[in-house]
């Protein structure tokens, strides 16, 4: 990783130098999106060397989302991760002769639901095709997919990312060309030592939604944000579990570079990306690599490259022999798939449990992440950034709202506790919200104790850490055990303050001479004396009295 970023920055440096020689005033930040648009679109590429305009990245994505269903797309065998090899395989999945595909309704509904959530047009009629290629984990020699007329088309995904100087939320959109239903393949385990491949067909035939995103993104960060948003949407819908490390969500990136206003450059396809973080890195590496190739006067090859997360580089995968010919043909064993807009459009006498009704699925759509964020901002008056943090973490919104229900503290004061203290502790120990040793009601109790003046805010943080360590103890218990409650005895407080004033005559003199800031130091000393168990406002008043 380090090596590549050094290489990339070296490259950047060289380019900057070159450009600054030619264009002393031009600022060159390659990773930024070119906002200065087509100033010289009539200049063809051969002027690459003088770089009148910066090359920018263009990124499109192809995403395979495994449908969260009990059984496979065309067979009744179970869908499960990490089971004994070939234990989830039916005769159809093994493509034994004479077996026929029987479409799973759940998979159709999941695709329709996902399409609706992404503002797609749902095709009333869609068809299945065979895509042929030879590989041992595809026993039939073809994949059933939807090439000609997919179930959903023309959608749009709105995503946001933090950017700009004040790290504000920037909203962007990416067009979704289509969502198609298709079969997953099996898995191959390559045994290089014995020079053989072990085939596990457990995944063969699992339902996939392939989402094709148009090349509307320009860098790794944007692609990562778009995929993250999609992941949240799929998880909210329950149509895909979205775990990238388990391969439930697989992302291939199509990357090219060009000058804004000019035709798109030759693209490469980057595969083998198994986390969102790696997605951003792989794309940025690939954009820089292509810019480097062009700057050196070379041409980008149309090829498939694999991302190596160890080195942070993309490396060419073994070349396909010329252009692939998948010999697409209509799947003869499946008539067209019809979905109905509403119950009224069902043909008379049609078995209702056989019908996929769009209206019904639309009504059942859950609250989507973007709507949830807007609601959180409006209802609780929190910052948009905070709403992102809440929605990004599985279960955190529920936690936050549960705390709010049980406390009198304002949402705007609670949010810091949830996004900083709680989330910080969780992240530190790589835990999920549901694993938190401090429950929402327990946190609420702590916050109430602070709100009602039983403890100071610094003590509250101390108590929280104690609650985290010794889970099960309530805030009240910890405060009593360790005597952390605010010093409420005014006489005691007075005597402590007196002691501080008496032992710091210089500071007192300075204060009397008009240096008001000195009071903070005295307050700090009182705090230290009482281990933070004082009400700062009260201490200030007492100290002011005593130093007059």
């Amino acid at each position: 990783m380090a090596a590549s970023s050094i290489a990339a920055s070296e490259l950047l440096h060289k380019m900057n130098k070159q450009i600054s020689i030619l264009y002393p005033k031009a600022s060159c930040v390659i990773r930024r999106i070119g906002t200065t648009s087509s100033r010289c679109h009539s200049q063809p590429q051969h002027r690459a060397k003088s770089a009148p305009q910066q090359l920018v990245g263009v990124v499109g994505l192809e995403i395979h989302a495994q449908i969260n269903s009990n059984t496979k797309l065309f067979s009744g065998s179970p869908v499960r991760f990490s089971s004994p090899p070939n234990s989830l395989v039916s005769f159809f999945d093994g493509s034994l002769p004479g077996t026929l595909p029987v479409l799973n309704r759940r998979c159709v509904e999941a695709a329709v639901m996902t399409g609706l959530a992404l503002n797609c047009t749902i095709n009333r009629k869609s068809v299945f095709d065979r895509k042929h290629y030879f590989y041992a984990d595809l026993p039939a020699g073809y994949q059933i997919t939807q090439q000609r007329r997919p179930i959903a088309i023309d959608g749009i995904l709105t995503y946001s990312l933090l950017g700009g100087k004040r790290s504000e939320v920037i909203r962007k959109t990416v067009n979704i060309k289509q969502i198609q239903l298709e079969q997953d393949s099996g898995k191959s385990l390559h045994d290089d030592v014995r020079s053989q491949t072990l085939i596990d067909l457990n995944r063969a035939g699992v339902g996939l939604m392939e989402l094709v995103m148009e090349p509307d993104m320009s860098c790794g960060e944007e692609a990562a944000a778009a995929v993250r948003e999609l992941q949240l949407i799929l998880q909210a819908l329950g149509t895909c579990q979205g775990n990238m490390s388990e391969g439930q969500l697989r992302v291939d990136a199509n990357v090219s570079v060009h000058r804004p206003g000019e035709p798109l450059g030759i693209r490469t396809e980057v595969k083998n990306i198994n986390s969102i973080r790696f997605l951003a890195r792989a794309i940025d590496y690939e954009i820089q690599r292509q810019i480097g190739v062009l700057q050196r006067g070379g041409t980008v090859q149309n090829e498939t490259r694999a991302y190596d997360s160890k080195s942070g580089e993309t490396i060419p995968m073994r070349d396909k022999e010329g252009l692939q010919d998948y010999r697409f043909m209509p799947e003869p064993n499946l008539p067209p798939l019809i979905v109905y807009e509403d119950n009224a459009s069902l043909p008379t006498g049609f078995d209702a449990c056989q019908a996929v009704v769009v209206q019904k699925i639309r009504e059942g759509l859950p609250e989507l992440p973007s709507v949830k964020r807007d609601r959180l901002v409006q209802t609780y008056g929190i910052l948009p950034e905070h709403s992102f943090t809440l929605v990004n973490e599985d279960g955190l919104v529920d936690y936050f709202e549960a705390v709010l229900k049980a406390t009198k503290k304002e949402p705007r004061k609670v949010i810091g506790w949830v996004t900083n203290e709680l989330l910080g502790h969780l992240k530190q120990q790589d835990m999920s919200v549901s694993q938190s040793p401090v429950s929402a009601p327990a946190l609420a109790e702590l916050l109430d104790l602070q709100e009602t003046g039983h403890i100071s805010s610094s003590v509250a943080k101390q108590v929280f850490q104690e609650m985290w360590r010794s889970s099960g103890k309530t805030a009240q218990q910890i405060i009593q055990e360790q005597d952390l409650g605010l010093v409420s005895d005014t006489a005691q407080l007075h005597s402590i303050c007196q002691k501080v004033v008496d032992s710091h005559p210089d500071e007192v003199r300075a204060f009397r001479n008009g240096n008001k800031k000195v009071l903070n130091k005295l307050m700090g000393l009182v705090q230290r004396e009482t281990k933070g168990r004082t009400d700062p406002v009260l201490v200030r008043t007492i100290l002011q009295e005593k130093t007059l």
Partner: protein, 195 residues
């Protein structure tokens, strides 16, 4: 493809589609070409009528359905109404062999392919303007949708028995995709072939 299904239904020989498969015994020189010809013939219908009736007798367990004509009722399109016969350059043979992973560059194999293309050429005569291509003769039937309940699987033992090579509960295949020999190499290998 779609155009073909259209003619298939219109010309009352849709049935033939189902029984074409066995016609691979037309060519018996080797297993590879047999596999290949299945796909060719599936597309093109068949070469001779006698062959159809012949096969029907062998494979049909039902008595003859009176609704189905004994012999095809269509007339072959005269040659002069067809476009000139397609030439199959060596490169195309090469590509097809690669795609289908079969060798068929024998005189016999090529003749069969040419015949199949010639048969399909008749489709050029059919006027399909204003007719939406069909996907399947079952287009007007509703696609049956299954409930999402586990019904099968868990038969690893039975499936693995079918494989020549297994390790533990895995099927064993050759490593990756074996790259096909380069064209020149293949020419050398096939030096004794008739092409």
């Amino acid at each position: 493809m779609s155009v073909f299904s259209f003619t298939a239904t219109r010309t009352c020989c849709g049935v033939s589609l189902k029984i074409i498969r066995p016609s691979f015994n037309l060519l018996t020189n080797n297993v590879h070409s047999a596999i290949n010809v299945v796909s060719i013939n599936r597309r093109s219908g068949t070469c001779t009528r006698s062959n159809i009736t012949n096969i029907r007798r062998v494979f049909s367990s039902q008595p003859h359905n009176p609704k189905v004509p004994e012999v095809a009722t269509w007339e072959p399109v005269p040659d002069d109404r067809l476009p000139p016969p397609a030439q199959i350059p060596a490169d195309l043979v090469d590509k097809l062999e690669r795609l289908a992973l079969v060798d068929f560059r024998t005189k016999q194999g090529l003749a069969c392919l040419e015949k199949a293309i010639r048969f399909a050429d008749q489709l050029h005569v059919v006027d399909t303007s204003g007719t939406e291509p069909m996907d399947s003769v079952l287009e007007d039937r509703a696609l049956y949708l299954r409930g999402d309940a586990v019904m099968e699987g868990d038969c690893a033992e039975e499936l693995l028995q079918l494989s020549k090579n297994t390790v533990e509960e895995y099927f064993v295949a050759p490593p990756g995709n074996i790259p096909l020999p380069k064209r020149e190499e293949r020419t050398a290998i096939l030096k004794h072939s008739e092409l």
